[in-house]
Symmetry: C2
Subunit: 164 residues, 2 copies
């Protein structure tokens, strides 16, 4: 695969079908609660409704016919240059191919392009989320903060940060 082809397949604007595709992928990962899945879909709908005026930016990655993964990011309100990666999810049937890393690199490239300085990603400290935390660490993120029992008793919030 050439470098040009490797960059192909990213899409930045949402289309109506993304609602169901995002719901499918986010649900299939098994990592998110029903409430979180609804939020993931709502962010897609916000982008659909507002286009470039939306505070939520997307990177969709398609292969063949369907969506194989996506990321959603935005500048954190009342900050100058601090961005949050709200969502990053890869179809479980397509994991282990480096798609998550490609999505993350593309998200970071677009954040830098917008003048972003910091990228944050929050996840759970529970054992179930060890693969997620290792993913952020492999992508060069460091733990910036841990709040024990934040999400629920026994469920810490771990905040990762990368300086661009």
């Amino acid at each position: 695969m050439s470098k040009a082809e490797d960059q192909a397949g990213f899409r930045y604007e949402s289309v109506a079908d993304d609602r169901e595709q995002v719901r499918r992928i986010v649900s299939a990962t098994g990592y998110f609660s029903d409430a979180e899945i609804e939020i993931a879909v709502e962010l897609v709908e916000d982008r659909l409704a507002k286009g470039e005026q939306s505070d939520y930016h997307f990177v969709f990655l398609e292969q063949g016919e369907g969506l194989v993964g996506y990321g959603c990011f935005g500048e954190i309100p009342c900050t100058v240059g601090s961005y949050d990666v709200y969502w990053i999810a890869v179809d479980p049937n397509c994991q282990g191919q480096g798609i998550g890393k490609r999505l993350m690199r593309e998200i970071e490239r677009r954040i830098a392009e917008r003048g972003g300085r910091h990228v944050y990603a929050e996840t759970s400290g529970r054992q179930q989320y060890t693969p997620t935390r290792l993913f952020y660490e492999r992508c060069g993120y460091e733990v910036a903060s841990v709040l024990p029992d934040f999400y629920a008793p026994g469920d810490a919030r771990v905040t990762y940060r990368k300086l661009l």
Copy 2:
């Protein structure tokens, strides 16, 4: 002042006039940017529109004719029992009378009533916000996290927490 009178004056539902009263108080403190002032007013409008269905809960404190201070809090999305104090502001003409502490105690009482376990409050690490940080510390809050350069270069985010 009797204990009963000390509890008097709190109001929990917003009225139309709160939009301008909150704008007046939040602006007058001199602590908030225009964007932040707009957000403060938007949260009041959310409560006005949705009533008890709003995710934003309020404690308004009136003395005589007008509003002298208010607080706004809510359960942090996707958590069980972690609450954020989004806003707490006292009319500068009425500061130094313990109104902030009374508001905070009432906020915490209402959070505990709803089953809340943790209360969080975020503020800036800049020197200008030293009185704010000292206020949280006097109210029994401890620093749970510091993210340097979060709001802007040289402007850290300090997250305070109190366990109920």
